[in-house]
């Protein structure tokens, strides 16, 4: 930890949606049901794969007629899952639109006769956007929070709508986030800075979550802590944590527990009950404390992981300041062949 810490960067801007694309995303979701698609493959690497998490959770728990499978791009390419075929839609996500194995996944999908391939990327000129049957592009919001999560939320809403399962208020909630998330940041910034100061002094951080928050914990550990901040970290499902990794809980070890409002909340509460007895460095980010004035209560649980993703991004910005380590610096990515 650097004693002369740098100032915390400004929060990333809100996503700016293209209204036409938002409509197309909902229409795609509806078509998945009305066309009788059986399997939706969600393909990508790293942060792009993690961005599918909240939608996987929602669809898996609510839409019996659909199978949703998120998979690393090369796992998809080499495995060619048995469920891939004419009743599949394949979504391919890559921020730059150039990730080689994700571009190849388009060929994998087409060779297997997938009904269609849809890309999620920031760059409409990229291979991913130009080779897919349909492309959703979020430029110019390159460094906004979670444009792919928002696109997926729109698609998911279309699916729920066509399946007769849509909760009212979701569109209203998405529309409110650009105003609400800055309030969440303003409320949490002091706490996030204290968490960053503590994590910066520790050799390894463990992040925990259940349900859709497991993926948020994993993304924080793998992409913010390891990739961007070069800090040891690992993430666990809160239930699995209590069946193995918890054995090495020590009073000085730091834990970051991401709590949501979904059905699995008792799992993180149980892990917290344990951790609070045996560690003195338990940090909690609880979506119940998110001030989301424009989000109707009935859809808070579904919106919480999207907001949590933004909040962990904000935590990373605090770590960037405390560690004096730029989030955009890479040793290997984009600079060596591998």
């Amino acid at each position: 930890m650097n004693s002369n810490t740098r100032p915390v960067a400004d929060p990333r801007p809100a996503f700016v949606e293209n209204p036409e694309q938002a409509d197309q995303q909902q229409a795609l979701g509806r078509r998945i049901i009305t066309d009788g698609i059986r399997t939706v493959f969600l393909v990508g690497c790293g942060g792009s794969l993690a961005a599918y998490g909240p939608s996987v959770y929602t669809l898996d728990n609510r839409v019996p007629q659909l199978v949703v499978q998120a998979m690393n791009s090369d796992e998809f390419n080499y495995r060619k899952p048995a469920g891939l075929g004419p009743t599949s839609i394949v979504l391919v996500g890559s921020h730059t639109g150039t990730t080689a194995e994700t571009v190849r996944a388009i060929d994998t999908a087409k060779a297997a006769g997938a009904e269609s391939v849809v890309s999620l990327t920031s760059d409409p000129e990229s291979p991913l956007a130009t080779h897919a049957d349909l492309a959703f592009t979020d430029r110019p919001t390159k460094w906004a929070w979670d444009p792919k999560e928002i696109a997926m939320a729109r698609i998911t809403q279309g699916i729920l709508d066509a399946a007769g399962l849509a909760a009212s208020g979701f569109d209203e909630a998405l529309a409110a986030l650009p105003a609400d998330i800055p309030n969440v940041f303003a409320d949490l910034d002091p706490a996030l800075h204290r968490i960053a100061e503590d994590l910066a002094t520790k050799p390894v951080t463990y992040a925990l979550g259940s349900g859709p928050m497991e993926g948020m914990a994993r993304a924080f550990a793998m992409f913010y802590m390891q990739e961007m901040l070069w800090r040891h970290a690992a993430a666990y499902n809160a239930g699995e944590f209590l069946h193995g990794p918890f054995e090495m809980t020590e009073s000085q070890a730091p834990y970051l527990v991401l709590c949501g409002e979904d059905a699995t909340r008792p799992m993180t509460d149980r892990a917290l009950g344990f951790l609070n007895r045996y560690s003195e460095h338990v940090h909690v980010i609880d979506s119940r404390e998110f001030r989301l004035a424009g989000v109707p209560d009935g859809v808070r649980a579904e919106i919480a992981p999207i907001v949590m993703s933004a909040v962990t991004t904000r935590l990373a910005q605090h770590l960037e300041a405390v560690l004096d380590h730029d989030l955009s610096t890479r040793r290997y990515m984009f600079s060596v062949e591998y």
Copy 2:
């Protein structure tokens, strides 16, 4: 690392199958297809959840009519996945047969009207065995390698058989393992000891695998390293590793890469190509080097993860000796409430 290391324990014994149960396991597999089961849920915690890995990989890639979903027991209980219902079979696994949330999963499954609930446990008198519709019990092989993997392999063979997809030689291979695995241990013991000596000097170990070996890497990190040896560790899919965690690769950091013979092998080879350039402590366990005289070539790829599970168990025994840390010692499990 302890300089006065203790002797390495004898390898665990081979599993001893009950032939009648082996037949029943294959029959269950066939019935899953002939009865038109749509979704098989594989439910458990920790090592019992990990034991499903090889079968999930095989079924996911080969049986288009079936959806296979492995899930932590409480995730299953709280989420009640949409695919759970009269066309589901639920397998529940627990070594002791007493894991509370796994026992509750039987109620979750029955309340949702699952076609049947099948338990995998060592104890025929346990709640898990007595409350399920059908119980497979592996007593008296309590500390053998992988009895649950073997039971799952039998069930998987039944599924493949009924689906017209069975490769010849699988039964022959399973029958050969009790003789072949000790040969693999004898060949690899010196190398495993050297790996253990190196890992024992490092603060954190990263384990990597692709396809079915990802689960083996995860089980090694979470259950052997963390739960039993109280050592920091984390595991990654080899493809995901290159999209984040690899940024903190350093010359002195240790990596354990588990290589299989399945379709995803190029993914671990790619990660190895990177690691061998930037780390001086890359350890490889490659199933191609397993001396498996009784395993026909055509089924080596499917058998490899079962053998790898036994080999990582053996590596843990070497770590037990080098670290002078008993594998059966627990701080919290079975001794405090949580």
